[in-house]
């Protein structure tokens, strides 16, 4: 009887220690909302409906603006001298004017920095200036959302980009903000360089083959937003790259991206392959007119971390000729990309991804303290059994 009591006490003690080790000490429940991620509070249903309508309006407005620009651009190109591949104008309140000299200068520097000279596909940029006095009869223009019209929807050799400049740059163009001008000018060059988006790829490599183009259209061109993002910076462009993985917001940022992107962050080739090749189809279809509306705002959830520079980095890694073979291919995207990389797509992408984020560990990962306590309990249990067995007497 005494022996049974002792075993009961040992069992209860072991369970208590296990509970102390593995249950949250403060009994905290997982909160539904994020602690650090940039998220706005969920609006009322009426507000959500209004925002959805406003977004639809912006989409329709951007489409209309691009189709109208198609006509105006022909006039500009007629006036341009031979060999001109980049034309820039500005627009405010539906009135097109010459681009501000500083913007014109900045975008031509960006063009040269991208290594573009005379190109087969020309680019017409319309810098949309913010309206000074607020209008209340229509939604405001979102500065981070640019719209593009592919060459096949114009004269086949002109890509049109409409870039909303937002309040800051509009005031800068008007000379109202010139504090830190050299820094601001460099920032403007970078902004316009990335603003060229898909049009920069069209200019550099021409119109992609049907399979590649349909793949990019299906993905919203998310892998080809920046032709030349430059060297990898120390901090990166996303919260995942900026934060320390010891803190919970790192993991919140990780689990906000799609599962295939999480797998890619863990350097799993199958996940990387699935993340990159999503949208590739054996039966490609391309809409007409081919309008692209691209959200570049901070906080958007990427399909692949740093995906905006993926094809730019592929082009730099494989060289122009091999990249052009991929770009104009008639083969399926996965085959053509693997041929250009001379490696399986998943493996190459996993290596590329690990250059931005040190691979995370997925799967069971017990904390060090928990492991120590569990081992101690196991050792205690073994010792108790050993001691009990040594004292056992058969009568």
């Amino acid at each position: 009887m005494a022996s049974l009591k002792r075993w009961v006490v040992v069992g209860v003690t072991a369970c208590s220690v296990l509970a102390l080790a593995y249950l949250p000490p403060r009994g905290a429940t997982a909160s539904g909302r994020s602690f650090f991620m940039a998220q706005s509070r969920q609006g009322t249903r009426a507000r959500q409906r209004a925002q959805a309508l406003a977004d639809q309006w912006r989409g329709a407005d951007a489409a209309l603006r691009l189709l109208r620009a198609r006509r105006e651009v022909q006039e500009l190109l007629r006036e341009a001298k031979a060999g001109t591949s980049l034309v820039v104008v500005s627009e405010s309140a539906d009135v097109t004017t010459a681009a501000p000299p500083i913007a014109d200068s900045a975008i031509h520097i960006a063009w040269r920095q991208l290594g573009l000279g005379e190109t087969k596909v020309r680019v017409a940029v319309i810098i949309q200036l913010a309206i000074v006095s607020p209008v209340h009869d229509r939604p405001t223009i979102e500065a981070g959302i640019a719209a593009y019209l592919a060459p096949d929807s114009t004269d086949r050799t002109t890509c049109i980009a409409v870039l909303p400049s937002g309040n800051y740059w509009t005031r800068f163009f008007r000379g109202e903000r010139r504090d830190g001008a050299p820094f601001a000018f460099e920032a403007l060059v970078q902004t316009l360089k990335s603003g060229l988006g898909p049009c920069a790829f069209y200019a550099a490599y021409g119109t992609p083959g049907k399979s590649v183009r349909a793949w990019l259209v299906a993905r919203g061109w998310d892998l080809a937003l920046t032709l030349d993002a430059g060297a990898r910076g120390p901090y990166g462009n996303s919260l995942i790259e900026m934060t320390d993985r010891r803190y919970p917001w790192f993991w919140e940022a990780v689990y906000s991206v799609p599962p295939t992107a999480v797998a890619c962050l863990a350097s799993r080739p199958t996940g990387c392959r699935a993340a990159v090749l999503a949208g590739a189809s054996d039966d490609p279809s391309i809409p007409f007119p081919d309008l692209m509306r691209i959200d570049r705002r901070w906080g958007r959830v990427p399909r692949v971390v740093e995906g905006q520079r993926f094809l730019g980095d592929v082009a730099r890694a494989v060289g122009r000729d091999r990249f052009l073979n991929f770009w104009t291919t008639a083969l399926p995207v996965d085959t053509a990309l693997a041929a250009a990389l001379k490696r399986p797509v998943g493996e190459w992408t996993a290596d590329w991804q690990s250059g931005f984020v040190h691979p995370i560990r997925l799967g069971p990962a017990p904390p060090l303290g928990g492991v120590a306590i569990a081992l101690a309990i196991a050792a205690l249990a073994v010792a108790l059994v050993g001691v009990t067995a040594s004292r056992r007497q058969v009568r």
């Binding site: 190109l77 031979a82 060999g83 087969k120 050799t157 083959g209 104009t328 008639a330």
Partner: protein, 146 residues
């Protein structure tokens, strides 16, 4: 003063519809060289067409060929084009002659038996940097008396 006005008018008229790109000029020069090389002796006009195509795209146009005349149909394309296919079509749309082995300079020779409208189709089979410019010239060589 009149001279200045005339010069200004000529300059305004001479301005191209849209500034030509390097590749377009390249193709037009090649078409002209091809016409010069073929050395026509006919008084019939040379028909020229040019345009641009992405890989695997095709373009067609119609032209009247005169009975009893031999023609050379020449197609050229820009430096980024690797293969161009040229086909002569009958009025009903069937293939009369096809040239796809000469890579970027296909040439067809044809003797028109009747005066009628023929079709000419060009297919951009290989273009390394889309779109590729092409040019076609239908050059009458000589009229053979029947």
């Amino acid at each position: 003063m009149k001279v200045v006005i005339v010069l200004l008018a000529i300059a305004a008229l001479a301005r191209p519809a849209i500034a030509q790109q390097r590749w377009e000029r390249q193709v037009q020069e090649r078409v002209q060289r091809a016409i010069d090389a073929v050395a026509t002796s006919s008084r019939l006009p040379v028909v020229k067409r040019s345009g641009m195509l992405n890989t695997d795209e095709a373009a067609s146009f119609s032209t009247t060929l005169v009975q009893g005349t031999s023609y050379a149909i020449v197609a050229v394309c820009d430096d980024d084009c690797s293969r161009l296919q040229l086909t002569l079509l009958s009025p009903s749309g069937s293939d009369l002659a096809k040239e796809r082995n000469s890579e970027s300079l296909p040439i067809l020779h044809f003797h028109a038996e009747t005066t009628t409208v023929y079709g000419i189709r060009v297919v951009m089979e290989g273009c390394h940097w889309n779109p590729c410019w092409y040019g076609i010239a239908v050059v009458p060589l000589r009229k053979i008396p029947s």
